[in-house]
């Protein structure tokens, strides 16, 4: 083979491999949407799930999924941001930081079922939070922290050292340089990290089965008092999410339309993740533009 032929061959192989990835992903996505979308209806989105009869919806599961995602992000983002700032800006290169880094790597590959059982023992049993949104959100924080931290750390490290020097040369303290220059400059990467981990949280089932529980209790969407047991904002009530719902109707569900319900729930899950993705990017870009005047 000549150099030219080798080049064409290699290019061909690369295109072929990319083709496989695209076909696989498009196939999965298409399959979920084609099977699920016909069963999606306004009624499905706005009615309660049913335990015995056909025709139930996923109103509570949809809300619970979004609520858990928001709570988990609120809890884990500040912690991850702080840890990432420490690791990228302050940490010296010694055995303690090596230990922290390897711990984060190990934790990020921890099976979610293990996180779920750990969360069950610690939050549900030990702290007595019971099967609740709070237990679920805390367990998901454990699940989420390692990846979010290393994503944010990477984006902070991507900000060039000359920016930090320029900040110091203007008389900024270390902290002001980080807050005023490094974090705003790293914002797009930080947003990507939040979006990626958001998708993971949204689709997570195993962690929640043991922490947020399954039983859909009575939820009143007009009750805005978060301390009332029936309020939709109450964090101490058990809450089934979309992903847990799919698992449940397919394992212990006895409804006759289980296939249709899980197909529709699956499609809804994918759609919500896409919407979350796009809107997080949109608002993230708006914030970035506002901070940096990037047009």
């Amino acid at each position: 083979m000549t150099e030219h032929q080798k080049d064409r061959f290699a290019t061909g192989v690369i295109y072929f491999l990319v083709g496989i990835v695209v076909i696989l992903l498009a196939g999965i996505l298409g399959n979920i949407l084609i099977n699920g979308l016909p069963h999606l209806s306004w009624h499905f989105l706005t009615s309660e799930s049913s335990d015995f009869q056909a025709g139930g919806g996923v109103r509570d599961q949809l809300f619970n999924s979004v609520y858990l995602l928001v709570l988990t992000t609120i809890i884990s983002l500040p912690i991850a941001l702080g840890a990432a700032i420490y690791l990228s800006e302050y940490a010296r290169d010694n055995w303690i930081t090596h230990l922290i880094r390897s711990t984060i790597e190990i934790l990020s590959s921890l099976p979610s079922i293990v996180v779920g059982l750990f969360g069950y023992l610690l939050f549900v049993v030990q702290f007595g939070f019971g099967f609740s949104i709070l237990s679920g959100a805390l367990a998901l924080t454990f699940f989420n922290l390692p990846i979010l931290t290393s994503n944010i750390e990477e984006s902070l490290k991507g900000v060039s050292a000359t920016q930090r020097e320029a900040g110091l040369a203007l008389g900024l303290s270390n902290w002001k340089t980080i807050r005023g220059i490094v974090v705003p400059a790293a914002l797009p990467g930080i947003i990507t990290g939040v979006v990626l981990s958001g998708g993971r949280i949204f689709g997570e089932a195993a962690t929640l089965i043991y922490t947020a529980g399954q039983s859909g209790s009575l939820v009143d969407y007009h009750n805005w008092n978060p301390l009332s047991p029936t309020s939709f904002l109450n964090v101490m009530r058990p809450a089934e999410t979309l992903a847990v719902h799919i698992w449940k109707v397919n394992t212990e569900g006895i409804i006759s339309d289980a296939t249709a319900v899980s197909a529709a729930t699956g499609a809804l899950l994918v759609l919500v993740v896409i919407i979350f993705n796009l809107s997080a990017r949109y608002f993230g870009n708006k914030l970035y533009q506002k901070l940096t005047a990037a047009k």
Binding site: T162, Q163, T292, A293, A294, K295
Partner: protein
């Protein structure tokens, strides 16, 4: 003429290796002084001592005497914010922050807790004019400063350094990352400003040093070999080593 910065027996060690072997060099106010010498001779290291930019490098030990307007700048009580407000710095790579042109130039002012918006705006405009970048930015002050060309970015950085009205501006090879046209623009800016500010500039470009500087100091292997008026040094250097370097026989 008044001496604005004086240094005596400045030594700097990275761990066990000494990079500066005792430098005595004084800088005249409102003059442009260039520091020249082959790579690794210590001129940038010395420049960075003058506003304590070497402080954050691990294992650095600095001894000797560096005074700004007669005050030792290496005491425990030295206010680094105040010092760097008086002794600004511009780097080799243009370093605009990822904000608008206006916010970049106003950064130091806001840091100095100037709240008066009219004053900030006046200073920003004046500084952009001084740095000869006003005509190119006046209609796009809200544009991200990183979206300008390298030469424009460097002049925005000069404007940012000038905005806090420093007495001295340190320039670490400010044109070496720029193309010839941009670098000529920056040179022009410095020539126009050198009666108002004290500039201390490191450069590898000997023509540039001879074109724009009043004083020149020649460094070699961590020692100051010779310093004096640029014209004299370039025409008739006192030392053979300086003569060899200026004629391109090493370096």
């Amino acid at each position: 003429m008044t001496k604005i910065i004086t240094t005596k027996a400045v030594r700097l060690k990275y761990g066990n290796s000494e990079a500066l072997h005792g430098i005595d060099l004084d800088f005249e106010a409102k003059q442009l002084t260039t520091l020249i010498g082959p790579s690794g001779c210590g001129k940038s290291t010395f420049l960075r001592c003058l506003n304590r930019m070497n402080d954050d490098i691990p294992n650095v030990h600095i001894s000797g005497d560096i005074k700004f307007e007669g005050h030792d700048i290496y005491t425990n009580k030295t206010d680094l914010v105040a010092l760097r407000k008086e002794v600004g710095m511009v780097f080799q790579q243009p370093t605009p922050f990822p904000f608008s042109v206006f916010d970049n130039v106003a950064f130091g002012l806001r840091l100095a807790r100037i709240k008066d918006k009219a004053l900030i705006e006046e200073r920003v405009i004046e500084s952009l004019k001084q740095a000869a970048i006003w005509n190119e930015t006046k209609d796009v002050l809200n544009r991200n400063a990183q979206r300008f060309s390298g030469g424009q970015q460097q002049r925005i950085c000069i404007a940012r350094a000038l905005a806090v009205r420093p007495k001295v501006v340190l320039l670490d090879e400010p044109t070496s990352a720029l193309d010839p046209i941009s670098s000529a623009e920056v040179e022009q800016t410095l020539i126009q400003l050198k009666r108002q500010y004290t500039f201390i500039m490191v450069t590898h470009n000997l023509q540039q040093a001879s074109r724009i500087s009043d004083q020149t100091a020649f460094f070699m292997n961590g020692d100051l070999i010779e310093s004096g008026a640029t014209e004299k040094m370039f025409i008739k250097p006192k030392r053979q080593m300086t003569n060899d370097y200026l004629n391109g026989r090493f370096g």
